[in-house]
Structures are given as C-alpha cells and as structure tokens.
C-alpha cells in the first residue's frame, strides 16, 4: 500500500492555480522525485501534504504504518509530523538562535512521553528520556558529520552543512516518510555527490520512504525510482527516470530553462 497518496489535489492562491490535479503516490521504501521548472508548484505540493496549506480541493492520504489509510487533508502540521512525516525546507528554516545540538534535540520533542510536570520535577524518568534524546541526537549528528559543531550556533554553519543539519533535525522526529525540498540547492558538485549518496544510504539504513524535490537532474536520475514532472501546477509526465528523460513534453518544459 502507498505510504503517501494524493487524490486530485488542487491549490489556488487567489487567481493563481499553483497546483492542479495532483495525483501522486509513494510506495514503501521508494525514492520518488518531483521535478519541474521554478514556480511549477513543487513546494506548494509539499505544503499541501504536510499541512502547512489546506488544499483548496482534493485529498491527501497517509498510511500510518498499520496498513490503515488515513485521510490527512488539511490536518495540522504537528499532527502530521507526529504520524511520521518529516520535511526540510527549500529556504532553510533552522532555529537560528540555537545551537546545532539544540536544533536536533528539539525535534525529539514530538516523541517525548513525559508530561510537563514530570519534566520540570526532573523525575528520574525524565532524566532517562533526556539522556536518550541526547544520545539519539548525537547519533544523527554523527551520521551527517556535524558532531564537532554540536555546540556552534546553527547559523554559523556554511550553507551545505545547514542543509545537512535540517535533514538531521527532520530525522530526529523519527519519520517513516521524509520530504526533502531541494536538498542540494546551493551545493557544489562534490557536496551534491555526497548528498546523493547520503540520501541513498538513508533509505537503506533507516528503511525510509523518501519524496524529494530537486533541480539537479543528476541526483534525480541517479537515485530515484520514479519521477513526477510538474509544470505550471500540472503533472506533465511520470515514470522511471529513463522514461521521463525521453519524454517530449518534459524536454519542451525544460527547453530554455537553465538547469542550475
């Protein structure tokens, strides 16, 4: 069964039809990419899925792990995150005034079992949770290669590392489905290659299902199982990388569009 699926998702902003008739599905342990020129509606699609925007029309469904399909259309982002959907942002949204470690620690909060009073009284049980959160956070920082910077301010990191930190933060919520919005934007070729490998490892090591938006065609072609191509909000092609690459409609949409 699909981990994620949408049914005729439509998003309108005033007169702008940002996403039209979005019908996508992502299967367990798949890596699926959404590509398309700037302004095609890719980020908007993410926002419809994660609850940041309530779709104007259509439905979003999530399989929450027990084989049951739940309608999550327009549900609050925090509730969707609690169901195991985590994301990163195209225009990096780290907690600026906080350390690298605190950024990751915070994302553990959604899985915390202790209520406020038990946390404040520092009952042994809370200490245990706090230690566990720290251990998991360091594990994730290790995975993204940021352990040495744990106590630095999040914003003092170079751009590429900030993107990695965002991924670590998303992983700390213990997701089943990870949404990455242009994870390689602003990265140099070497960083991009590392990232491609990193995303592939995530799927293998953590058994994650991944939906990603990307501009860099190379990444997309290398690691995705299937691709959706959006243009002016419409899905103009879908299928395996090979199939999409040769699709005349896709070539037309990308013609003259500079690939960054």
């Amino acid at each position: 069964m699909s981990v994620l699926s949408t049914e005729n998702g439509v998003m309108r902003f005033g007169g702008v039809l940002a996403v039209d008739n979005l019908n996508i599905h992502v299967e367990e342990n798949e890596i699926v990419a959404i590509i398309g020129p700037n302004g095609a509606g890719k980020t908007t699609a993410f926002n419809m899925i994660t609850g940041v925007y309530r779709p104007t029309e259509g439905r979003v469904f999530l399989d929450c792990g027990n084989g049951e399909k739940q309608d999550i259309t327009g549900r609050r982002p925090d509730l969707i995150a609690a169901m195991g959907v985590a994301r990163t942002f195209q225009n990096i949204r780290l907690f600026k005034e906080q350390s690298v470690l605190d950024n990751v620690l915070l994302a553990n909060h959604v899985r915390l079992k202790n209520g406020f009073f038990s946390a404040m009284a520092h009952w042994p049980y809370y200490y245990k949770s706090e230690r566990e959160m720290r251990r998991r956070s360091f594990e994730l920082l290790e995975r993204v290669g940021l352990v040495e910077s744990a106590n630095e301010m999040a914003t003092s990191l170079p751009y590429g590392l900030q993107r990695r930190l965002e991924i670590a933060r998303a992983l700390a919520t213990q997701p089943r489905l990870l949404l990455l919005d242009e994870p390689a934007a602003g990265m140099n070729p070497k960083e991009t290659e590392d990232l491609t490998q990193f995303v592939a490892e995530l799927r293998k090591d953590l058994g994650l299902t991944i939906l990603l938006i990307e501009h860099h065609m190379q990444i997309v072609m290398d690691i995705s199982d299937r691709i959706y191509v959006l243009d002016y909000g419409k899905t103009i092609a879908e299928g395996t990388p090979k199939k999409v690459q040769d699709d005349p409609a896709v070539i037309a949409a990308y013609l003259g569009v500079d690939e960054e």
Partner: protein, 378 residues
Amino acid sequence: MEKRQIKGFVANLNPKKRRNLLLSSISITALLLFLYFSNEGILMGSYGVRVLNLCAVYAVLTLSMNLINGFTGQFSLGTAGFMAVGAYTTALLILPVEIKEKIFYLEPMVPWLKDVHWAGNLGFLGALLTAGVLTAFIAFLIGFPVLRLKGDYLAIATLGFSEIIRVIFTNMQNLTNGSTGIKSIPPIANMWWTFGVMAFFTIFMVRLMKTSYGRAFKSIRDDEVAAESMGISLFRHKMLSFVLSGFIAGVGGGLMASVVGAITPIFFRFILTYDILLIVVLGGMGSITGSIVGAFLITIAKEWLRWLDGGFSLGFVRIPAIAGMRMVVFSVLLMLVILFYRRGLFGGREFSFDWLINSLSALPKRVFSLFKKGGAAK
C-alpha cells in the same frame, strides 16, 4: 557515607567546574549574609530595604514577561492585569478582619470573604500560591481567544484584556473596594520572601529552559512554521508558556501588594506593563540573568534619579523642580543603552563565572590595545 559521596563528587569535578562551584558558594553565602544584615536593618534603613524588595519583585515580574515574550516569542502585554489578579487575591486573603471592616465602608464586603484571614508566613505562602493558581487560570481562559493571534494583534488583545481586568476590579465594590483600593496590607513580604521567591523562579526558569519544553518554546520563537513541522503543537505550547507566565505574574503581584502596602486599580495601568517591558528589553529578551540584572539596575536607577525631580543647578543655570524630569532623563539613558546594546545588556545569553573571568582577564589586554592604537594614530 553521604559526606564522603559529596567529597568524591567535588574531587571528580574538573578544576574549572570546581572553581565555579566555589565561586557560586561564596556568592550565595555573601548574598545570604547581605540579606540577613539588610533585613535586620543593620546595613540600610527601611527605604533601602524597600527599594531592594521592589527590585526583587520586579525581577520576578520580568521573568514572567520574558518567558512569554523573550523565550516563546509571543508579544504579550497583559502583565499588569495578571499582577492585579495576584495582588488583589493576596491582599484580600492576608488582610485582617478588622481592617477589612474598616476599609470597606462604602459597601460591605462579600460575606464569603469577610471573615477570611490567612495570618502569618504560612498564610502568606497560601495566599501567594492561590494568587498564582488563580492568575494562571485567568491566563488560561484569556489564552483561548488571544493565542490564536500573532504579533501586534496579540499585543493589542492582551493589553485589552489587562484593561478589562482593571475595569472589572474598579467596579466590584464589594469585592475589591472599587477605586478606593485596599490599604494597610500587612508587610509580610520582607527580604527573605522577595529574594526567596525571586530565587525560586530563577531556578524554575533555568530548569524549564533545560527541558524539552523550554526548547519547544524557543523553537516557536525562532520559527513557527519549522517548529510546527517538527511536531510542536503551537497552541498547546504557547498556552503552557502563557499560563506559566501568568502564574509567575500572579505571585509577583501578590508580593508587590505586600511590599507597597496599598493597591488601587490605577496602580495596574498599562504603564506598569511598560515599565516591565523596558526591563525585559534592556536586560535582554530571552536571558534569565538579564532579567534579574535589568530589574535591579532600572529599579535602583529610577530611585536614585529622584533628585532630578526636585530641581537642581548645572552651575550656570538653575533647573526648577519639574515633576517627571526624572522619567525624561531616565528614558534618554535607556535609549542610549539600547543604541549601544541593541539586544539588551545580555542579548540572549546568560551570566556564567567562565564568561566573567574570561572578560575580566581579557580586560587589561583590551585596554592596552586601545592605548597602542591611540599611539599609532599619533
């Protein structure tokens, strides 16, 4: 056995930690001695004690406001209203029955409160706790409509509720004695009380900010969209912060009532919130130590500048006595401080002995380099 464990604990600390532990112990002992001698009237007169009491109470109120504004990023201006709830609750509970009879002469007091008198320190503790819980409850009720708002809208709404509380209190003649207010409130809040409560809430805040809930507050302040996408329920955490802030403001208001001895609804006008907001901004949004240092600096400065109101001579011109002169000078001073320390004295940081020693030991070098630069310029 216990002793040996403690000894082992101290020996196991690294030298820096041991030094900080020592410095902390010395500071705390000095503070306790200071409190003892001040409270006994040996170090200073009743005026000095009163000012220090006010400092501590303002520190509590600043912590309350910093929690919701500085740590959670919600621009709330309801502090004066919350204080009013706490102050009246405390005053009405600790006021002796004879005094109640005497001051409620326009209209007799409601029967269920007329004969209530929680006497002594224990009674005061009970009254403060009741004040805190009641204020927290009011904050909870107000929070439902207002915490859905953001920024300026939230500020205006909380300010509105604060004024509504004040108007209600002005008109509940048989409960609050209306605009005449309540006087002869027993001065139970000595320095042990004010500094004790301040210490309690300081530790409370430090702890809170070390828990996952404190991190959730700060993440909401830094980026609501990201926080929500990481699974933080915005409303629940804003509400938690708002209610806790209300609790602290209620207790602070109760302390204030006992320190100043007389309260009227006028006392809880917007200007009071503004005073506390100034301390929050000057001390540093999101700094616990900044709140406390700011509260002491501003409260003492305001008292010290009193001589300005009485008229003074600048040598060649004589400035006549103008009421409010002190506030003018005070505001100018504040503006200067804010110009140079845009993020408040402490920014979002906290005081630590490491920081103090580092900056002290760096001082000679900095002064020296200053001279060197001056020499090079010549």
